[in-house]
Amino acid sequence: MTARRLAEGGCIDRSRRLAFTWDGAALAGFAGDTLASALLASGVRVVGRSFKYHRPRGLWGAWTEEPNAIVDVALGETQEPDARATTVALRAGMVVRGVNARPNVARDVYGALDLAQRFLPAGFYYKTFMPDWHRYEPRIRAMAGLGRVEAAPDRRHYAARSAHCDVLVVGAGPAGLAAARAAAAAGASVILADDRPAPGGTLGWQAASIDGQPAAAWAAAAVPQGVRLLRHTTVFGAYDHNAFGLLERREDAPAGWAAERLWHVRAGAAVLATGAIERPLVFPGNDRPGVMSADAVLHYLRVHAVLAGESAVVLTNNDSAYAAAIALRRAGASVLLADLRPAPPIAAAAEEAGVRVLAGSVVLNTIGRDGLRMVDLGPSDATSPRQATLRVAADLLAVSGGWSPSVHLHSQAGGKLRWDAAAAAFLPAAARPGQHLAGSITGAADLATCLAQGHAAGLAAAGRAAAIAPPHTAPAVAATPLRPYWRVPIRRARQWVDFQNDVTAKDIVLAARENYRSVEHLKRYTTLGMATDQGKTSNVNGLAILAETTGREIAAVGTTTFRPPYTPVTFGAIAGLRHGSLYAPWRRLPADAEHVARGAEMREYGGWFRPACYPRAGESAAQAIRREAAAVRAGVGLFDASSLGKVVVDGPDAAAFLNIAFYNEVANLKPGRIRYALILRETGIVYDDGVVTRLAPKRYLLSPSSSHTSGVVAMLEAWRQTECPGMRVAIHDTTAAAATFAVAGPRAHEVLAGLTTIDLAALPHMTYAEGTICGVPGRIARVSFTGERSYEVSLPAGYAAALWRALLAAGAPHGISPYGVETSSLLRAEKGYILIGVDTDGMTLPDDLGMSGPLRAKTVDFVGKRSLLMPEALRPDRRQFVGLLPDDPATPPHVGAHAVARTAQGMRSLGWVTSAFFSPALGRSIALGMIERGRALIAAGAEVELYHLGQMTRARVVSPVFFDPAGERLHG
């Protein structure tokens, strides 16, 4: 006696048999089945184990509300953990496993936990294992948790789309279809999204006639031309100003195409026709496999031709379950219907169809080890299991406790809810601006009302009238009101409220007794309404029991907050294409291919993919850096500096504007001259450094550091627009337009001499000139980041590779060596040149770097000036930039090591090491750092102790300029 497939009927294709495995057993279903319907038709009753007690659980629902049937699904190379069996379309070859059980859900060794249930009340883990949770956690975790995530990378593809529409209709049930139809007729652009495989919603299994056609046939033809229908698409989130997040699953996507698409839809107006979800009733033993939602039973029967049981009991407190009872009877099952209401008029129709009706009855217990075998019934006012008057054999108990409207999106968008006593449900108090509500979400219970509301909402959303009649259906017979009934008042019995999280009525009563009276506290203490189903079936029952226990009205208890997503969204869909090399695409140098071909070790620096160094065969990176550094000091090196910013500032007020933006004086710079300058934030903190070139009286070229260029441009723009709107100045970032190579070393000028028309003898340090290089118009700036005589040669970016090769060829007789970012970083450290963000941090002021001149000399009120006069900036004990000569000349200290002072309380930090190298030029270790009162320590020739991970070393505090302190080589 169990569920079976009917010989005919349903929306399945019996000619297409699909084989799959369930926990190793070979089973089969048909095209048109979900995993759940195929399992049900195959006689599988236990589809999962409950989260906490490992109780056997069967199917409750037929769609997204399903709390129990969480399974791992593998198909070919793709894996989906924690899939809901009710929403996964069956495909041939699926390998399906139950979760949270060992070895499988049918025989789970942890099932013994259920025997200890009286010792595992709400808050058990917290009360028992805190404060030493970390000791117990590994073993507890091993018993808990759901699906297994494969370690292999996800092979599926994901994509994202954006769309606009006049009207977004959420839900393609009767109300949504009527709304889309009306809005489209009114001329609106319409997107209609529904999470099911086909439009129609409940029309797929509830018998009715619309416009003279069977409802399912009407639904299939109801979507008019021009409406963009998104099937398999869940609207999971509602955000500000009618922005919606949609997840489209494309199960039939060809290999290599996106399996899921994330949509961002901005709608002029939205119609929420999201329907309602059937609630369980809370009674003893209501979690036994075989206890199902009455609506789901009807769904499986009509859509999948699966009869969920031969001997059915139906328990209801409202009229809606009668359709399922009658359908079960007509399909050949014996049916006994227990109605909590005393004398419902609808009973007559059921009895006529052969259903035995027991009015004023309730289920007092269920019996069966791994599935339902018997049901005890008694009067609906019973308070003891001994009041049972009838025991019937049953393999199916179909339950309806009323309907909870799917108010999630309304609530996410900021909509308020009100408790409606007649519907016994939380309903939207009023639609949000720009949103319209239609169908069961409003509490409407009959088809005619849903269709009329949908039609009206579609027209209202379109904002125009349309020459189209609303869909017509026979008005419903007046329904008998639902009888609110929240649990059987038997104290000791276990009555389940939240199937997914194993929360019982007793747990809620206990929580209330421990004063968790706020619904938000109740949720967190008992886990009611958490996890993947987010309380879709359990919320209202839980709130009602809390209200009853604390002597309040349900309206006064309220609900927890609804937050996106409505159903789980895969991380893959959220990431979309933003992973791997597309996560944050590297910027590549215009001569990138030259570096790669030369065997450069390429690394990422502030978003740029640049050569770190150019190791030769058999050479380590460290060896390459030393060799390159020596080549620059002794002869000549070649460095790709193309990533350095090239920001042109133009206009009659360029000088005045830059004098406000920069810390250093730049207005008195003569055309053709270059100056090193800092740029500060209003807080006085050093934001960036670089050289400023005056190209012409009204034209400057700035060279911010590679990773700060866009930030500097944004900052200059902000100042230009908001603080200096009257100034005639324009800012262009031309970084990508030119390739720039630094030719550095005592023989640099010899390399360039034959290649350019510019007279290098007339180009002293910190000047620039324009001319041709290799016959192409370009510019040469004489600036140095190495301490050597150095020329930065710039040509349009298209010439990058040719120029790079020409410079290498011209330099070959002089032993030219390309050098990378790491080598450059070493060479600049020998000269005590700072690297922003390496030697400086979010607390560094210009005076800390020894640059106090502009503050004294400049009269302009530049950015950050006032902050440099604050008491904090004037403290005598600020950290200052220093050089450090370690006692151990062979070993550089660790970057981040602290300079410490010993005090009575222990050690106190004086600052830290910011850069450290072995200097080939000095033949010893060197370091840079920020140390408290550093300049006084230099003057005194003091030593400091350096602390790193328990080790102490010593270093002498010296000037940061280790190499060529007089700067003779720069001018050489």
């Binding site: 955000y239 500000d240 100003h241 009618n242 922005a243 961002h264 901005r266 900021g414 601006p433 209003e682 807080t683 944004a714 723009e717 902000a718 627009q721 908001t722 603080e723 709107p725 009120d861 000036k865 006032r866 902050s867 006069l869 604050m870 008491p871």
Partner: protein
């Protein structure tokens, strides 16, 4: 995700914009500003509940700065205004 009406480009989605907080008058000249009023300028904001003026920049569009008045309770965008 707000829908913001750029004074130059019309209604656009929030990811195109960058936010820069409340407009604050920069006090000056530096020598005439007290420590307290400079600290207020740097760090203190009204953070109003209700209508609230904010600087935004259409960074992913025209690059222009403008003022947006927004209700911080309802998220209703009340008006936008280009700089004078």
């Amino acid at each position: 995700m707000l829908l913001i009406t750029c004074p130059w480009c019309g209604p656009r989605s929030e990811p195109e914009f960058s936010y820069a907080g409340e407009p604050v008058m920069r006090p000056g000249p530096a020598e005439a500003v007290s420590d307290q009023s400079w600290a207020d300028y740097l760090y203190m904001r009204r953070n109003d509940k209700g209508p609230h003026q904010e600087n935004w920049c259409h960074a992913g569009g025209c690059g222009q700065w403008f003022m947006l008045e927004r209700d911080t309770v309802t998220h209703a965008n009340l008006r936008t205004q280009a700089p004078a």
